[in-house]
Symmetry: C2
Subunit: 208 residues, 2 copies
């Protein structure tokens, strides 16, 4: 399938077919697209929870304003983002670069100073910066799922505290950015027949 | 090309081949992927500027902390996001839904109330919400470009005021979210030979 056909075929599913589970091999490919996501300075300041357990999904239903996706989806993905860029995190990242690329630590000092510089800028807001990076991962998940013919619904309408309780998040360190239900559309989900509403080219783009 | 191969092949280009221009048909396909991006409530609270003009690109160089991408890329994309969700914008969006889908305006009243409700919530920060949506479009551009074998470099290191001056943005209404250079990697861009550094699966994902 051409990728534009896949994106045209995608819509935010309101009701999934609860009898269909996303095949593990497809799920891992889709997740790999998120792992390969670009992020600012490569810092990947987020974590991705994949809830396939039926009892846990049931527990999560009250955390959402619209429960129909959670109660019918195959997997619920919860993306959290880092509240702080701790020294240990940054040091671990730099060590990882050295391990993977063989770059001597001394050669990374300027890169480290750059990261420390921009994170100390008065206009830098850690949580928003980390959330934005997590949305790139979200988009890669949706795009890859569309290519795999797996349906999705991204959701921002959740009670973060309730989600945090069930997933036992470390609230000092992470916050829920966004969530994504995965599965296969139910045959009677009426939204699949609606035409896609997008801004026309001339309103969205300006060529200079 | 398999999409994971394409994402693995992607890296943030530091120097493009200045003699190669992205073919218009490829550019339009890539932009169409951004136009089809999902966004919260479908509101697409952003605009996408595509700078192909050489003199304008030259003018934009001082707006970036790292000029090498701007001076060598084929096209520079600047994504701005809306600072306010004006009544007219929302009304225009609802009218557009009615035009495209034939949904009677009365049937959209609850949807409208929902949008007004969440945008008035005390935890809602318009600018961050809009920026996050624009990052989904950014990610779709990078993903589609990778599939088209077009190289990219996303950049957050810019002086928004300087960009706004050159592009004559309406600063009351829009702010620069993020930028993306498009083109083809230069043969001597050393970064293309470096191994990709990404968190291992067990650190990024938690299966529940």
């Amino acid at each position: 399938m051409n990728y534009l056909e896949a994106l045209n075929n995608r819509y935010s599913v309101k009701k999934f077919d609860p009898t269909r589970i996303v095949e593990p091999e497809k799920l891992y490919q889709i997740l790999e697209a998120a792992r390969l996501s670009a992020s600012s300075m490569g810092l990947q300041p987020y974590k991705i929870y994949i809830v396939g357990s039926e009892p846990v999904k049931q527990q999560l239903i009250p955390a959402f304003y619209n429960p129909s996706q959670i109660s019918t989806c195959s997997h619920l993905i919860v993306i959290t983002s880092k509240k702080h860029l701790e020294k240990e995190y940054l040091d671990g990242y730099l060590r990882h670069i050295t391990e993977v690329r063989g770059t001597p630590a001394e050669q990374l000092l300027r890169f480290k100073a750059n990261i420390e510089g921009f994170t100390k800028d008065q206009n830098f807001v850690q949580q928003h910066w980390a959330e934005k990076q997590s949305y790139i991962a979200l988009a890669n998940l949706m795009f890859a799922a569309a290519l795999e013919d797996v349906d999705t619904c991204p959701m921002e309408g959740f009670r973060a505290d309730a989600l945090g309780d069930v997933l036992m998040l470390d609230r000092e360190k992470e916050q829920v950015s966004v969530t994504l239900a995965l599965g296969y559309r139910a045959a009677d989900d009426a939204f699949q027949t609606l035409k896609k509403v997008r801004k026309p080219t001339e309103k969205l783009f300006k060529f200079i």
